[in-house]
């Protein structure tokens, strides 16, 4: 009989979609944030595979266009993390920044929480709202967001290079 042990789960096999869905619903129902390691690249470059994501409950607030939210996928019933690219009354259109197609229209009740923090290698990642939620959402909707971010990074890299010379 091995000694009883409590161990951190991070670094072990990732949570399954079902497990993450169940845990997120349980934690957010208690009005607390959930922090976990993301899988997949549908939200690259803002959220990459292995990033640590914190989702906070809506707490009565209405999510806005440009927000990255956790939602229950209407077909699979599992949790997804995508951006709101359009809103109309209580209907929200969601899409992964790095995907060509959207998730369809969701009601407010299908949105579980808002991504409030993304950490990569111990540093916070900017979530793409500083430029204005509507602009980011519009770029994501058109499929230009990832290219725009790559271009901005190239420009800023060149500026840094020039500055160091």
């Amino acid at each position: 009989m091995k000694s009883a042990r409590l161990v951190r789960r991070e670094g072990e096999r990732p949570l399954s979609g079902e497990a993450l869905t169940e845990l997120m619903r349980a934690v957010l129902a208690k009005e607390k944030p959930l922090r976990f390691r993301a899988k997949g690249s549908s939200m690259a470059p803002f959220i990459k595979d292995g990033d640590v994501v914190t989702v906070r409950p809506l707490g009565g607030a209405r999510p806005r266009t440009g927000d990255i939210v956790a939602f229950l996928h209407p077909v699979t019933g599992r949790v997804g993390i995508h951006r709101i690219v359009r809103e109309e009354s209580d209907q929200f259109s969601l899409k992964g920044d790095n995907l060509s197609g959207g998730d369809g229209t969701l009601s407010l009740g299908q949105i579980l929480g808002i991504v409030c923090r993304v950490e990569r290698a111990g540093k916070n990642v900017h979530l793409g709202r500083l430029a204005g939620g509507a602009l980011v959402a519009s770029l994501s909707r058109s499929g230009w967001l990832t290219r725009a971010v790559d271009a901005a990074r190239r420009v800023s890299g060149r500026k840094r290079e020039r500055g160091s010379k």
């Binding site: 009989m1 042990r5 409590l6 607390k32 944030p33 959930l34």
Partner: protein, 106 residues
């Protein structure tokens, strides 16, 4: 300061955690009040830990838990006691369990 773990008391999950048994694994999520904590947030238990956790119903004194586990695992009670108390100390330190009361209080 936390009270030491006592065999005369019952213990159960605290309100500060969400616990789910999913796909044979017990996953413990501490409910943090802020989000500034840089520590990883998900915990799990090994097989022995799971056997102990499942018996923490907040009703049975730990002495009973130890004796049930000793019978189930066919192992010396003093070894089980040491292991169980050690795990509960760690769980209490992380505020994952609370003391529910002694048999004499009920």
């Amino acid at each position: 300061m936390e009270s030491p773990i006592s065999l005369d008391f019952a213990y159960g999950p605290s309100e500060d955690v969400v616990v789910r048994e999913i796909e044979g694994e017990i996953i413990i999520v501490p409910l943090v009040s802020g989000i500034g904590d840089l520590e990883d947030e998900l915990f799990t238990l090994n097989e022995t830990g799971r056997a102990i956790w499942r018996k923490l119903d907040g009703l049975k004194p730990l002495r009973v838990v130890v004796s049930e586990l000793a019978a189930e695992f066919d192992a010396p009670a003093d070894l089980i006691e040491e292991d169980t108390v050690g795990l509960l100390q760690e769980l209490a330190r992380r505020k994952m369990i609370i003391r529910k009361g002694s048999a004499s209080e009920r």
